[in-house]
């Protein structure tokens, strides 16, 4: 296959005999390296010393116990959302609304904590976590129902529901759930103390959510490789026609994928509210649900990959904050890196199935039908 039809190009793509196992593992690290190189170039272009910028961005944030705690803390919602999304994408279900499901989990879990926190006593933490999971599931049930019943694209529905969930949260904290003693700030009362997830380690803020996320990663691995339901979902994603012929229910796969990913995203939401935030406020996530899409792909839709990729993405968030404070770089620089990372990854994945070959004689621009 010629790379570009009409540009004389010394390289061409050739399909490999079989997919490269090495590239399957190395495509993500390669993409991360390419992103790093881009980052250094951007820092240089902004007139910062690239080496110093690199240190501020990647080393300093994690050079203390507190910093490592922050790394794990921010990795938690990313990991939770991305584990569910990876399962979805494997099943060819394009849930891109994890941000909305996260927001709803924050609302339902936070609501239970705010209004029933005192009554629930010892049960409050399991109760709010369960409420968060159910909230995320309920939000994901809408695209699941519309897709399986009316064939409405879950891409659009799940994305539109992000805006709706954020507006709902905004309404609640500006209106009925606003803290009367909050000096008119749009925020709820703080969650009762017994509802707050305690730090795992003194001097850090990382909480039990991270442990749950790791357990879920293990569970997801088991689900994907050792259960019939996981197998059916993968077949449904890889070969829908074959799956239908084998009697695998597409409807069931859609529901399962969206319920799992909605649940994990909802859990991510309540872990934020009952963890570092401690109350409901108009914005409960700096786009974790969207960044998790990148995490899922960079993790190559594999639980272990997702765990590693969420740590990388969390480091990008921390680096962005650190660069903002010390180098006066805008925090949005991490958004730029996230997008670039996904581009590089998609390009690198090409080399799993293809390889580059030098063309000895540069071909004269062939008719494009060549």
């Amino acid at each position: 296959m010629p790379l570009f039809d009409y540009i004389p190009w010394p390289l061409r793509l050739e399909r490999r005999q079989k997919p490269s196992a090495a590239m399957r593992i190395w495509s993500s690290p390669l993409a991360a390296l390419a992103m790093l190189a881009t980052g250094l170039l951007v820092f240089g272009a902004l007139g910062k010393d690239p080496v110093a910028a690199f240190r501020v961005f990647f080393i300093e944030p994690v050079s203390s116990v507190y910093g490592i705690g922050e790394l794990l803390l921010k990795a938690t919602p990313l990991m939770l959302c991305a584990l569910g999304l990876a399962l979805c994408y494997r099943a060819n279900v394009w849930n891109i609304g994890a941000e909305g499901q996260l927001t709803l989990g924050a609302i339902t879990g936070g609501g239970v904590g705010l209004f029933y926190g005192a009554a629930l006593g010892h049960w409050v933490q399991p109760a709010i976590l369960a409420a968060g999971v159910l909230g995320g599931m309920a939000w994901a049930a809408i695209p699941a129902f519309l897709r399986s019943r009316f064939r409405t694209s879950e891409i659009f529905v799940s994305l539109m529901l992000v805006y709706i969930a954020q507006l709902l949260l905004s309404y609640l904290v500006h209106g009925p759930w606003r803290d009367p003693a909050g000096q008119n700030f749009p925020q709820s009362q703080p969650l009762p103390d017994n509802a707050l997830l305690a730090p795992l380690l003194d001097g850090t803020r990382v909480n039990v959510g991270f442990i749950i996320a790791l357990l879920l990663a293990g569970l997801s691995w088991w689900f994907g490789t050792a259960t019939a339901a996981g197998f059916r979902m993968r077949v449904g994603g890889l070969a829908p026609a074959a799956a239908a012929y084998a009697g695998i229910s597409e409807r069931r796969n859609i529901w399962l994928a969206l319920m799992i990913s909605g649940g994990t995203a909802g859990l991510a939401g309540i872990c934020e509210v009952a963890g570092p935030i401690g109350m409901l406020q108009p914005v409960v996530s700096p786009g974790y649900g969207f960044a998790a899409i990148i995490v899922a792909f960079v993790g190559r839709l594999h639980p272990l990959g997702v765990v590693l990729a969420s740590l990388l993405m969390s480091a990008l968030y921390l680096g962005g904050e650190s660069a903002q404070m010390e180098l006066q770089l805008p925090a949005s620089v991490s958004g730029l890196f996230q997008g670039a990372l996904l581009f590089y990854l998609l390009a690198a994945e090409l080399f799993i199935g293809f390889r580059l070959r030098r063309v000895r004689r540069a071909p004269a621009a062939p008719p494009a039908s060549a």
Partner: protein, 308 residues
């Protein structure tokens, strides 16, 4: 509620519909060539930012729109290289384009936040604009509004009546067949993708220099996604996309005037309307599987490579 208010509402609905039209018509052409570009939101934001930046720095809004179109083309080119030359998954790459566009525009546009700009002026046609009712309703918009209508007619004509349109549709329906007939499938798809990028860029610049003359991060607020949904709603036909855009423009604007109309619902719920409406119209359109099956370009979203 008097007649003049209704005229104002109708006129602002047209304004709100115009960016949706540009973005949706661009995406329509891309999709008719068989390429699904989910990066409209990102391309719009990049267009909005670059249009605003050039408009503020140069003082010329025409330059702003040219710059926005160029920026849209450039970023669509990234999408084209990845999906058309490197055969990446179109859905994933489109999502990447949106995420990248959000980050890039926020990063590059940070020094332009909060700056004022003189918005695109409305045309003043002697006599016609001064007519009562009809004047403000039909003859008092900025030139881009008329351009979007012209563009719709042009695209409808090209797609239906010209050889170029036939080739584009052939590539979208059956790239293998078009290839066998000697059509440069990849080149045609590139052009369609770049056209979509230019239109999204213009749509973005319309947001930041005409509709709400300012630049803020993420200012498109899902309009790119609504434009994508409009293409489905319009079953890939330009005039129906136009109707859909005006419908959505009306929904968006009614929410702003709802308080004045005596509707006492918290503003957040009114702001949800366009998003809820998007879901509702998609469900209505998709309910009958034949509607989609008969109208959607048959190869939409699938990569094509010519063998080897």
């Amino acid at each position: 509620m008097n007649l003049a208010t209704w005229v104002t509402i109708a006129a602002s609905a047209v304004g709100a519909a115009t960016p949706l039209m540009f973005a949706a018509l661009g995406e329509l052409v891309t999709e008719r060539a068989g390429v699904l570009n989910l990066g409209v939101e990102g391309m719009m934001l990049v267009g909005a930012m670059s249009g605003f930046a050039v408009g503020v720095s140069s003082g010329s809004l025409w330059l702003a729109f040219v710059a926005a179109a160029m920026a849209g083309i450039l970023i669509a080119l990234v999408f084209g290289v990845l999906t058309l030359s490197l055969q990446t998954n179109q859905v994933a790459t489109g999502l990447a384009l949106t995420l990248f566009g959000v980050g890039l525009s926020a990063f590059a546009g940070r020094s332009f936040v909060g700056l004022p700009i003189r918005p695109l002026p409305a045309l003043h046609i002697p006599l016609l604009t001064e007519l009562p009712l009809v004047g403000p309703l039909l003859f008092h918009y900025d030139p881009l509004v008329y351009l979007s209508l012209l563009l719709c007619a042009l695209i409808a004509w090209v797609l239906k009546r010209t050889r170029a349109g036939l080739r584009l549709r052939a590539v979208g329906e059956s790239p293998a067949m078009a290839h066998a007939l000697g059509e440069p499938v990849t080149r045609i798809r590139y052009l369609a993708v770049l056209f979509g990028g230019a239109m999204s860029g213009i749509a973005g610049a319309y947001l930041s220099t005409a509709l709400t003359p300012m630049w803020t991060e993420g200012m498109s607020a899902g309009r790119g996604w609504i434009a994508l949904a409009l293409v489905v709603f319009g079953t890939w036909k330009p005039w129906r996309v136009l109707a859909g855009a005006y419908l959505f423009g009306t929904v968006t604007v009614l929410q702003l005037y709802a308080q004045g109309l005596g509707v006492h619902v918290p503003s957040e719920f009114l702001s949800m309307l366009p998003y809820v409406a998007t879901i509702v119209v998609l469900v209505v359109i998709c309910r009958d599987p034949k509607t989609i099956l008969l109208n959607q370009p048959a190869s939409l979203g699938r990569s094509f490579h010519s063998g080897y």
